[in-house]
């Protein structure tokens, strides 16, 4: 039954396969490689892919494959936690706006408009400049600056649901607002929210890698796909593997997450 569905929704299946594969790489990273991601080997500086280092080494002689494996942990962590924060915020604010309406709604929706005024990266980078560029800060900041889409979706869902009979019935029985929102409204609004959350994960991963590439994200020596590419820029034209593989890792991950999200959306629409 499930397999039949999976076969039909190829987008979803491919996406799921990619995301699962990367998830497994992240979990079992230490078992998949002989090298420490931070181990420097002066005899192996910038060596091209070979049987010894299957994806080559960087300018400090560190094994690129190991660094990519451990880098996937950073990306997935950022994706999951940042999206967790933004989805939670979007759910709370969107539900309040949709359920209570009136001035609370207009106030919250103006706040959404306001947050959307700030050019991508500007607010994030300003906060990072003032705090520290650490992994925890980055996850929190990305989360706090990307909840607006979810809030709008939740609000629209709740607006269309709250006049329905089962909600009226719950009100008549005397259920509290909190109970109506969390037990009756939100579960019925979750479909599009989950799709948005998954697509948001792709965004969070992209932002983290961009920040790390600028040197304002995850700090070396901790490997992240973005900060590995800093080395690629410094060795442009000398070490093609340093440019190709980390970028490919980001590209495939985002592609997989997007496919998963779009596949779910197709499902959700039916």
């Amino acid at each position: 039954m499930i397999f039949k569905e999976l076969k039909r929704n190829r987008l979803f299946s491919f996406g799921l396969a990619i995301v699962l594969a990367i998830g497994l790489c992240a979990i079992f990273a230490p078992l998949l490689t002989r090298y420490q991601p931070e181990a420097i080997d002066v005899n192996e500086i910038l060596s091209s892919p070979s049987s010894k280092h299957i994806l080559g080494t960087d300018s400090l002689g560190r094994d690129l494959f190991s660094r990519l494996l451990f880098g996937s942990r950073v990306s997935l962590k950022v994706g999951i936690i940042a999206v967790g924060i933004s989805t939670l915020m979007g759910l709370i604010l969107g539900a309040i706006a949709g359920f209570y309406g009136g001035w609370i709604d207009s106030l919250l929706m103006r706040f959404v408009d306001l947050m959307l005024c700030f050019p991508t990266y500007f607010l994030i980078l300003s906060v990072i400049a003032i705090l520290e560029p650490s992994l925890a800060n980055i996850m929190i900041i990305i989360g706090l600056t990307s909840w607006m889409g979810v809030a709008r979706i939740v609000r629209a869902q709740i607006l269309s649901l709250k006049e329905r009979e089962f909600i009226q019935a719950a009100k008549v029985i005397g259920a509290s607002d909190l109970r109506i929102i969390t037990l009756h409204l939100l579960p019925n609004a979750m479909g599009p929210v989950i799709v948005a959350a998954i697509l948001g994960m792709a965004y969070a991963i992209l932002v983290e890698s961009s920040l790390s590439f600028l040197g304002l994200g995850v700090q070396p020596p901790t490997p992240s796909w973005g900060n590995i590419l800093i080395d690629a820029k410094a060795t442009l034209g000398v070490a093609w593997w340093l440019t190709l593989f980390p970028g490919l890792a980001i590209f495939i991950t985002i592609l997989g997450v997007n496919m998963l999200g779009e596949g779910l959306r197709n499902w959700e629409k039916q």
Partner: protein, 324 residues
């Protein structure tokens, strides 16, 4: 129309207050509260920086007074002087602005002339080979990190083939060139940055265009135009396309924050002395006054871009003007 514009302008006031409130909040995240063990232990907080911030923003005054002062400063576009070289923040931004505006306009143009035809062509024959290829390419485009694309293009066209310059906007011998060659020189430097900056929105625009075109083609007035016996080309270009283009105006407006934000990335990679790179430099050197100025101005530009898009929308679609 004038009433509409006036109404839209009034709607900007709360947003401007909001922008100043959020940027005010960001300043207050700055380390080194007046008395705190944390600030004493944090070596990054120099007392001098704190003292300057305090003097500039009046951080020793009550919060309400501080906010009022901050807001009044913003109205006058007074962001103080750069921590780094003591020049006026507005002046530093002004000299970096033209190149960023130029690149963003060029990439908007590129998005327009590439994205729209692709969207239209795939909507005319949904399910065709072209449609399938372009839909897949759009999907791949969405997943492409722009900074990686920049690196790939740079290593291929600039380093391997040596067709294009690696970075910057002028060659070393720029001063000795005659005017036509000067323009050519800058153009050669701008090819890769403009392409990279357009690429991110290209996929989105062609997709929206496809969707919009599909909706319009199935609408009653297009069917009516067909039934009157108009030629297919006329139906498509005079009736369908013109209406399908209207929502694209809003999408273009909405892509402005992404374009301005994206300029931080590609201007840094290509070493283009624009606003994005200035922002990166100010973050790297923790030049707080410059950061605040760019944060506020960046969002004000976004507001203006959206305003222009809305006005253009109302101009082409009277239903918007007269509703509400």
């Amino acid at each position: 129309m004038i009433v509409y514009i006036f109404r839209r302008l009034c709607g900007l006031i709360p947003l401007l207050i909001g922008i100043s409130a959020i940027s005010f909040f960001v300043i207050h995240l700055a380390p080194g509260k007046p008395v705190g063990i944390q600030s004493d232990l944090n070596p990054k907080v120099s007392l001098e920086v704190r003292a300057r911030l305090e003097k500039l923003y009046g951080l020793d005054k009550p919060v309400a007074v501080q906010f009022k002062n901050w807001f009044l400063r913003l109205l006058r576009f007074d962001f103080g002087r750069s921590f780094l070289d003591d020049r006026l923040v507005t002046e530093k931004i002004k000299e970096r602005l033209p190149i960023t505006v130029l690149i963003n306009l060029l990439s908007l143009f590129l998005i327009f002339i590439i994205g729209i035809p692709i969207g239209v062509k795939s909507a005319l024959k949904p399910g065709s080979f072209f449609d399938k290829v372009s839909t897949s390419l759009v999907f791949l485009g969405f997943a492409m990190p722009s900074f990686w694309l920049a690196l790939l293009l740079m290593s291929f066209f600039a380093v391997t083939l040596r067709w294009l310059p690696v970075s910057g906007i002028k060659s070393i011998d720029f001063e000795f060139l005659t005017l036509p060659y000067k323009i050519l020189d800058v153009a050669r430097h701008l090819i890769l940055p403009v392409f990279v900056s357009a690429f991110g929105s290209l996929a989105g625009i062609s997709r929206y265009m496809r969707q919009g075109m599909l909706e319009v083609i199935n609408s009653d007035y297009v069917r009516a135009a067909r039934s009157r016996g108009l030629s297919e080309a006329r139906v498509i270009y005079n009736h369908a396309l013109r209406n399908a283009l209207i929502p694209i105006i809003t999408i273009l407006g909405l892509s402005i924050p992404g374009l301005i934000g994206g300029s931080v990335i590609f201007e840094t990679i290509f070493a283009i002395p624009g606003m994005g790179r200035l922002f990166f430099e100010s973050v790297m050197s923790r030049d707080y006054t410059l950061i605040m100025g760019l944060l506020v101005l960046g969002s004000v530009f976004t507001l203006l871009g959206n305003l222009i898009a809305d006005i253009a929308y109302a101009w082409v679609d009277p239903r918007i003007r007269y509703s509400r």
